[in-house]
């Protein structure tokens, strides 16, 4: 199992969470965990990651969302 990089974008509104995810993904890893705290960011990061070829699983974590990206 490769190291899972965590992107903590809680408290940030789009486009920042997507931008942070994009920067992380550009490093070429295959496992990421993105933390966001609003529905818009959840949708946008999911859409971006899916388009970048990742499988995305969303877990609700209290008032936050934990997006598991893998490919």
């Amino acid at each position: 199992m490769a190291n899972k990089e965590i992107v903590d974008a809680r408290g940030l509104s789009c486009p920042q969470p997507v931008l942070m995810t994009k920067k992380a993904v550009e490093k070429g890893g295959s496992q990421y965990e993105v933390l966001v705290d609003n529905g818009t960011a959840k949708e946008n990061v999911t859409r971006f990651a899916a388009n970048a070829g990742f499988k995305v699983t969303v877990q609700e974590d209290g008032e936050d969302y934990r997006l598991i990206l893998s490919k």
């Binding site: 809680r10 408290g11 940030l12 509104s13 789009c14 486009p15 920042q16 997507v18 931008l19 994009k22 705290d37 609003n38 529905g39 818009t40 949708e43 946008n44 859409r47 971006f48 899916a50 388009n51 070829g53 008032e63």
Partner: protein
């Protein structure tokens, strides 16, 4: 094996792409429906009394509210627009239903206030927020094309800073009362307008005197507010996300509003192609361009267009509430200091005064400074 690997890899990739598309189909349908409803409601509101190409204009509506509450005394733009109350309350109701109502704030509120004020000044020099710009395009007003160019350039400048690491830092969870403050104040004022109208100022002529019936305007706001909350409609994010992430979802909303308004205007006979003789507009190209440039730049720094800020206010985002207050104060300044663009008329070509031009330049300098200061810091920290 090797021979087969390549085609199957392509197949898997295209299948995944198709799955992604299917999953997102609902989101695309949502934004298209929202765009169509906004465009059509806008045309209906005009048919029922709103000024032309102003079925919705967040900048104009907040300016009228600033006038109604006597924050400025420009006699032609004073009216308490029920649409604004509807947008915020509609968004709040939908956010609560969808469990997305979340009181938060604390991301550079003072800076946001001033960015909001300058975005408003830019919008009033052009004579419309990004939403009215699209509605003006749908009415055949070519001055809005010039505005759109400025708007796009402003967004590109904003993207430059975003890519360099610009951020106004994170928000924090806040008590519920914070989230209700502005929405409750708006509803309270609206009720007061209905019960004791003599407290407020109402235009007897000019754009402020033109309006759809109160109840219809309110319902229109509620419907559009709810739809925009659900679909995340935003005029700025459309172009921004396309450039930054090749994500065209929100741009689809922008385009649908244009198409719906275009069709509506053609049907109702309100489509007139050209620069001259457009309703509440002027053809001073440089300042149409510059006005919308600072609207685009400021809105990227704020994270959304004026419509989106109203919707986020309904979702409990107090940074957006502060931004909206900034818009209102910016509108008051715009009219108290003669900064707003004048509509062209038979006697005058219109456009902004010297004061207005200077204010746009000051706005641009302030925005660039805010962008640079909050980018440099982010770089140092990381």
């Amino acid at each position: 094996m090797v021979f087969n690997a390549f085609p199957s890899a392509i197949f898997v990739k295209s299948k995944r792409k198709r799955d992604v598309f299917m999953k997102e189909k609902k989101a695309y349908a949502g934004i298209v429906i929202t765009g169509a409803v906004i465009g059509l409601i806008a045309v209906v509101l005009v048919a029922l009394g709103n000024p032309k190409n102003m079925g919705f204009c967040i900048a104009c509506f907040l300016r009228d509210i600033a006038g109604a509450t006597k924050l400025h005394s420009a006699a032609v733009v004073q009216y308490f627009r029920p649409e604004v109350v509807g947008l915020v309350v509609g968004a709040m109701a939908m956010a609560m239903i969808g469990k997305e109502f979340s009181p938060k704030g604390g991301s550079a509120p003072a800076i946001r206030f001033f960015l909001g004020a300058f975005v408003m000044i830019g919008a009033l020099v052009f004579l419309g927020c990004p939403l009215r710009m699209v509605l003006r395009l749908g009415g055949g007003d070519l001055n809005a094309v010039v505005g759109l160019l400025g708007f796009a350039v402003g967004i590109l400048i904003g993207i430059f800073f975003l890519n360099k690491g610009f951020t106004l830092k994170r928000t924090y969870k806040l008590p519920k009362s914070e989230a209700f403050a502005l929405p409750v104040a708006l509803v309270f004022l609206f009720v007061l307008v209905l019960i004791v109208p003599s407290l407020f100022a109402f235009s007897e002529n000019g754009p402020g005197s033109m309006h759809a019936p109160i109840i219809i305007a309110l319902i229109a706001g509620l419907v559009v507010g709810a739809l925009c909350q659900k679909s995340r409609m935003c005029m700025v994010a459309g172009i921004r996300d396309l450039v930054m992430f090749k994500d065209f979802k929100l741009l689809l909303g922008f385009i649908t509003i244009f198409v719906a308004a275009l069709i509506g205007n053609l049907v109702t006979g309100n489509f007139h192609l050209g620069f001259a003789g457009q309703p509440i507009a002027h053809s001073v190209h440089l300042w149409n361009f510059m006005g919308m440039l600072i609207v685009g730049l400021g809105s990227v720094l704020l994270g959304g267009c004026p419509l989106r800020q109203l919707i986020l206010t309904g979702e409990g985002n107090t940074d957006s509430a502060v931004t909206v207050l900034g818009y209102i104060v910016g509108a008051a300044f715009a009219h108290n200091f003669g900064l707003a663009g004048a509509a062209a008329s038979a006697e005058s070509i219109g456009g902004p005064s010297v004061n207005g031009k200077v204010a746009v330049i000051i706005g641009l300098v302030v925005m660039l400074a805010v962008a640079a200061l909050n980018t440099a810091k982010a770089n140092k920290n990381s």
